[in-house]
């Protein structure tokens, strides 16, 4: 009995002694268990008591985390040694924010911790420097339920968070983005959600990225409902359009009625039209950054759409769950499939286009993710002629002997143009939260045309037979390597830096023909090819200076070498923001340069448009833009903004005579002139972002002019730019009646485009010294056609089906049938008066489509 009592007393004493154990004792125990060696400074305080839970049975890492939790110490393994040291006062939390269902990274998701916050970058990655210790982070994103996570910050912490989609989330609860939009220091940057692209009613019911951008203030549309964009007085070739970081040269199908982006494959679109981030360069007026879907990491899903003009298919899913995912999309006009039938039926014309997108994403780890993306799109125009006429005719006098004649002709014209682009990229996160993205890109734009003909004539003059074959080709190839880095040295600084190199190969035109009749005449014009070497370095710092003021200075240094000549243009960028409560004011300055020009002969996207690089005679296009804006978010769910800007363009290139597009390798520089452009304007925007009814009302007043002081165009006088349309109004309303029905309506108004109208008829000399009648134009673009306005409406009817959801979309383009001047040209009718003819090609066009999402 006594023995048992003594043992109990000893056990109690031992337990009491254990409760008073210090860190060093526990470490010794762990050392014996795991055969590790500790490394630490001698003055490290290991005598502090440990009162935490027992460590028996725990693996080493967990045991150390439990032992050192709250002790102010951190550990790090170094081979068979464990290094102990005091925890840094500050640490960083970094990682990805993703959709819990698909694993798709969320761009621009908010991460907030007390007064500190950030947003994820275009790859869904964030870094947030914080004080060491326990911190509570809140993650939020539009349309997703917020999530709070507590994390112990000791040094660098990896934290990747998944968010769940929730349509009930009010936007006011979402952390405002600080890279684009009102909350950003940068001004003139707009984010376009894929849902907005899908819901915006457009031509033929085909949702389109660029057509949605045309609804934004400061963005003009081309003629005829074309999808070209003209931003703040800039030309159609002054927009840097990126698909997953790859610049595209031809972004239009069907003369610009559609863009090359299949909406189902698009994840996010950002338009920069004012101040530009320093990482962008190469175009003078805007940047359209289109990010494509990475692919669903969790499960397979997709959609099939059949519309009035086109079919679309989209499929994405995991090849290996949470590791490898693929996203595939394809789109094509119905006439792609109908071509064999049309050919058999001898239909004289056909046109079709198609797009194919593919992207593969592989996560090696949370620190290393690789992407491979591919795009191929093509337009084809075909024209066929086939006629054969035999006649029995009377011969000439005096005998009038009858004879048989025959005239036969066949001709086959094929024109094809489009892009092929590919990119391989790698994201790597360093332990300190430093993020790096490196990409290898390749892009080819080409246009090819071919004409084969045969002609036969049999009559009294004899037998003549001839075959002809023409070909024409034009194109660009790019190969590039670029790296972009994000670094967050402190909570008040986001530093971005990087650089890149691109090898361009331009082949503006090469042509050949063979004509065979009695003789064979062959013409070959192999064309001149130009190599261009383009390099760039950039750096910028998005810095918070106090509670209300932020500044974003940056520099983009670009360099271009071609034909033995090197041009370098430093491009400073500066944005500033002052905010107080719901009010904010921004200012910005940006210089952009462009080393390539698009020679075009009108406001239409034509396959014969030629991209040419700068040469000794044609200088880089340089733009300088100053902008100022005021913003107010005092009403929940609403944003109000007013921006004004002024932009100058140097070395604008235009054909001296817009019809001088001759296919020639000879002296094209001699057929163009360099001048200046100027534009300025005011943009007002009121936008509702929350509730059943969303949308915006935008008004733009702007002017854009050009001048060629050497007198080569318009005798050196200033004239309105072809897209100078002083007034533009866009009213877009999206209303969700229920989960099954939603309606979208868009009303657009724009001043008429300026055109050239002759004021009289005159005579001009011909090349042989004779004269011919010609219409006289006193000035270029001297008359403005009537304004354009229309109402587009579309309704979606959703229904859950056994496998997924089906949606009927029914819409009407130009609901009230406004006779808008889609094409304007001068003509002379029976009364011999010269008139202006406004042709309306797109008049009240209904459309429908059926989509099955699974």
């Amino acid at each position: 009995m006594m023995k048992r009592l003594l043992s109990l007393l000893l056990l109690l004493a031992a337990t009491a002694a254990g409760a008073q154990e210090i860190l060093r004792t526990q470490l010794d125990t762990l050392q014996r268990r795991f055969a590790v060696q500790w490394v630490y400074d001698a003055d490290l305080d290991l005598a502090r008591p440990y009162t935490g839970p027992g460590l028996q049975g725990l693996p080493l890492e967990r045991a150390l985390d439990t032992l050192l939790d709250g002790s102010g110490l951190v550990w790090k393994r170094s081979g068979s040694h464990i290094v102990l040291k005091p925890a840094p006062k500050k640490g960083t939390v970094s990682g990805y924010v993703r959709d819990v269902r698909s694993g798709e990274p969320l761009i621009g998701a908010g991460v907030q911790c007390g007064p500190s916050g950030t947003v994820t970058n275009v790859y869904g990655f964030y870094t947030l420097p914080l004080e060491s210790g326990r911190n509570r982070l809140t993650f939020s994103y539009v349309g997703y339920a917020s999530r709070a996570v507590e994390v112990e910050v000791r040094g660098a912490v990896d934290l990747t968070v998944d968010l769940r989609s929730d349509a009930q989330v009010a936007p006011a609860t979402v952390t405002a983005r600080t890279d684009v939009g009102i909350g950003a220091t940068l001004m003139g940057a707009l984010e376009i959600q894929p849902s907005l692209i899908r819901n915006t009613p457009v031509l033929f019911g085909e949702a389109d990225v660029l057509k949605t951008l045309q609804m934004m203030p400061g963005v003009q549309a081309g003629s005829l409902g074309m999808s070209g964009i003209f931003v703040r007085g800039g030309g159609g070739d002054e927009n840097l359009v990126l698909m997953d970081g790859v610049p595209l040269y031809g972004v239009n199908h069907m003369l610009g009625l559609f863009s090359v982006f299949t909406p189902e494959a698009v994840k996010k679109v950002t338009l920069y039209k004012g101040a530009f981030p320093a990482r962008f360069g190469g175009r003078a007026s805007s940047v359209v950054d289109v990010r494509m879907n990475d692919g669903d990491m969790k499960e397979w899903h997709g959609s099939l759409t059949a519309g009035l003009l086109a079919e679309k298919v989209h499929l994405e899913g995991p090849l290996r769950k949470d590791r490898t995912a693929v996203s595939l999309s394809a789109r094509g006009l119905h006439t792609v499939l109908a071509e064999p039938v049309l050919r058999l039926a001898k239909v004289p014309y056909n046109y079709f286009f198609y797009d194919v997108n593919a992207k593969l994403t592989h996560r090696f780890s949370e620190r290393d993710i690789a992407y491979v993306s591919f795009y191929h799109g093509r337009d084809f125009f075909l024209r066929r002629e086939d006629e054969d006429v035999s006649e029995h005719q009377w011969g000439p006098e005096p005998d009038y002997l009858p004879y048989d004649s025959r005239k036969a002709r066949k001709r086959d014209i094929r024109v094809g143009w489009g892009n092929t682009a590919a990119a391989a990229s790698w994201n790597h996160t360093f332990s300190s939260g430093l993020f790096a993205h490196t990409a290898l890109t390749w892009n080819r734009y080409s246009m090819r045309t071919r004409q084969d003909g045969w002609r036969l004539q049999d009559d009294l003059d004899g037998h003549e037979e001839e075959t002809t074959r023409y070909r024409l080709a034009s194109g660009i190839r790019d190969l590039g390597l670029a790296t972009d880095w994000d670094w967050r040295p402190s909570a008040r600084h986001i530093v971005r830096f990087g650089g890149g190199y691109t090898l361009h190969r331009y082949t503006p035109e090469s042509a050949g023909s063979v004509i065979t009749s009695r003789d064979t005449v062959r013409t070959e014009m192999p064309g001149r090819a130009y190599n261009g070497h383009e390099a760039a370095l950039y750096a910028e710092d998005d810095m918070v200076l106090g509670e209300r003021f932020s500044l974003q200075p940056g520099l983009h240094l670009s360099l271009f070498h071609t034909g033995g000549r090197t041009d370098a243009v430093p491009e400073p960028r500066l944005s500033a923001r002052w905010a107080s409560g719901a009010w904010s004011v921004k200012g910005g300055y940006a210089r952009m340069s462009q080393y390539v020009h698009l020679l075009t002969t009108g406001g239409f996207s034509m396959p014969t448009d030629i991209w040419v690089p700068i040469t000794g005679a044609v200088r880089p296009l340089v733009s300088d833009q100053v902008s100022l804006g005021g913003y107010w978010t005092g009403v929940p769910g609403w944003e109000f903004s007013a921006e004004t800007w002024c932009k100058t363009l140097r070395n604008v290139v235009e054909y001296i005579d817009p019809r001088l597009f001759y296919v020639t390798t000879v002296d094209w520089e001699g057929n163009v002139a360099m001048g200046r452009g100027r534009s300025f304007g005011v943009e007002l925007l009121a936008e509702r972002k929350a509730g059943r009814t969303t949308g915006w009302l935008g008004y733009t007043w702007s002017r854009a002019t050009r001048i060629f002081p050497d007198g080569s165009i318009n005798r050196g006088r200033r004239y309105p730019d072809p897209h100078d349309r002083p007034h533009k109004v866009n009213l877009v309303v999206n209303h969700r009646f229920s989960g099954r029905v939603d309606l979208s309506a868009a009303w657009t108004f724009a001043s008429g485009q300026p055109v050239s109208y002759p004021t009289r008829v005159t005579e001009v000399q011909t090349v042989d010294g004779g004269v011919s009648e010609s219409w006289y134009y006193p000035d270029r673009n001297n008359y403005r056609v009537p304004p354009t306005h229309r109402l587009d409406v579309s309704v979606n009817f959703h229904k859950r089906v056994r496998r997924g959801e089906r949606t009927w979309n029914i819409g009407v383009y130009n609901l009230y049938g406004r006779n808008n001047p889609d094409v304007s040209f001068t003509d002379r009718r029976n009364d011999r008066r010269i008139i202006l003819v406004n042709s309306t090609l797109l008049l009240c066009i209904p459309a429908f489509s059926y989509t099955w999402r699974f």
């Binding site: 014309y349 024209r383 045309t449 004409q451 001839e466 023409y470 050949g512 023909s513 064979t520 005449v521 070959e524 014009m525 009108g602 239409f604 014969t608 001296i656 005579d657 817009p658 019809r659 597009f661 296919v663 020639t664 000879v666 002296d667 001699g670 080569s712 318009n714 005798r715 050239s756 002759p758 004021t759 008829v761 005159t762 005579e763 000399q765 011909t766 090349v767 004779g770 011919s772 010609s774 006289y776 134009y777 000035d779 673009n781 056609v785 009537p786 006779n819 094409v823 040209f825 003509d827 008066r833 010269i834 008139i835 202006l836 003819v837 406004n838 042709s839 309306t840 090609l841 008049l843």
Partner: protein, 355 residues
């Protein structure tokens, strides 16, 4: 460009709704238009006068036209035929030429300086046999080379042409004169402009005969002798690549075209003798003249398809003009001729005029 436009949008245009507008822009009334393309190579010159009206032009039937060279009146024009007034005068490089026209109270005047003429020398010619492809029979060409010395110290523009002329005395029977269209007997003299496409010209970076993607009836091959505005008929070229230097101009004519037999009956075995020569003429132009030529070259390339004659893309700026008190353009081009004698040629028709 309008060809592509029409091909793509023609079906839509045919189905379009049209609104006609009669813009009421200011109209200042009739204006006297004077056009003249003069040359130092000619002695007889033509001035074209017309009235420019709102929707039409009308020939000036009764006008007084005068010409002064270096301040001295040298000629007055007479004999208006469809607004064309002719006069005789000689010009030289450096001359100040003033052309004036008076009609119905309007006075139009233009003053131009004759540009310096290029130095064209070192003519040489040969007769070559050349085949376009390995599969073809070689053909005979007259190939003429001359050296064009650029006018130093300024931007220069040129045009060039090649003519052939021959006379065949004693050509039997009735012969249809190519120039007059009449059937004559005896000596036949023929002058024709020849601008054959020869391989050297194709690759000449200055001349670069533009590929013609003609979709209409103006097939360049069958209309080689006609004014074809799809092609660089007059071999227009600037001095971009040989400024202040020398360029060797090569023009070639296929023998069968240079010495093309006239449409006539002939005695195949009879011996004929032809005196023949080839003339290369190089003009120097003013920069305004150069622009004017390029603009009119394009302006007159009207495109017609399927019976529609809509000029759907218009000239959008005025032509160069240098007439004060009116409208129009007057220019004097300085020409230099180099003549190479390739005759006399003797033989039967089949030899002198090879197929």
């Amino acid at each position: 460009m309008e060809r592509w436009f029409s091909l793509f949008l023609l079906p839509l245009l045919l189905a379009a709704c049209e609104t006609l507008i009669y813009p009421d822009l200011p109209f200042e009334g009739d204006v006297l238009v004077m056009n003249a393309r003069l040359s130092t190579a000619d002695s007889v010159h033509t001035v074209h006068l017309a009235w420019s009206r709102r929707d039409s032009v009308a020939y000036v039937a009764d006008a007084a036209v005068s010409c002064r060279v270096n301040g001295v009146a040298v000629a007055t024009a007479s004999g208006a035929k469809e607004g064309a007034y002719t006069f005789e005068a000689r010009f030289a490089p450096g001359d100040e030429v003033v052309l004036a026209a008076d009609a119905a109270g309007h006075h139009a005047e233009a003053a131009v300086t004759v540009p310096a003429a290029p130095v064209v020398d070192h003519p040489r010619w040969d007769r070559v046999r050349h085949a376009e492809t390995a599969e073809e029979e070689p053909r005979d060409y007259y190939r003429v080379k001359v050296d064009v010395h650029d006018i130093p110290g300024q931007r220069n523009f040129y045009k060039a042409g090649l003519w052939s002329s021959y006379s065949v005395p004693g050509l039997g029977g009735y012969v249809r004169d190519e120039a007059t269209g009449e059937y004559v007997q005896g000596t036949l003299s023929v002058t024709r402009q020849v601008r054959e496409r020869y391989v050297t010209n194709y690759y000449d970076p200055l001349l670069g005969s533009s590929l013609d993607l003609s979709f209409g009836a103006n097939d360049p091959y069958w209309n080689a002798d006609e004014l074809n505005y799809y092609r660089n008929l007059w071999n227009l070229f600037p001095d971009t690549s040989f400024a202040d230097g020398v360029h060797t101009l090569v023009l070639a004519g296929r023998c069968s075209e240079v010495m093309r037999r006239p449409s006539a009956t002939f005695e195949p075995d009879r011996q004929y003798e032809a005196d023949a020569c080839i003339r290369v003429r190089v003009f120097s132009l003013s920069e305004e003249d150069w622009r004017h030529l390029n603009m009119s070259r394009a302006d007159l390339a009207d495109f017609s398809i399927a019976g529609l004659d809509i000029d759907v893309y218009e000239q959008t700026q005025p032509y160069p003009e240098n007439v004060t008190g009116g409208m129009g353009f007057v220019t004097v081009e300085a020409a230099v001729d180099v003549v190479v004698d390739i005759g006399p040629l003797r033989g039967t028709f089949h030899e002198i005029f090879p197929d």
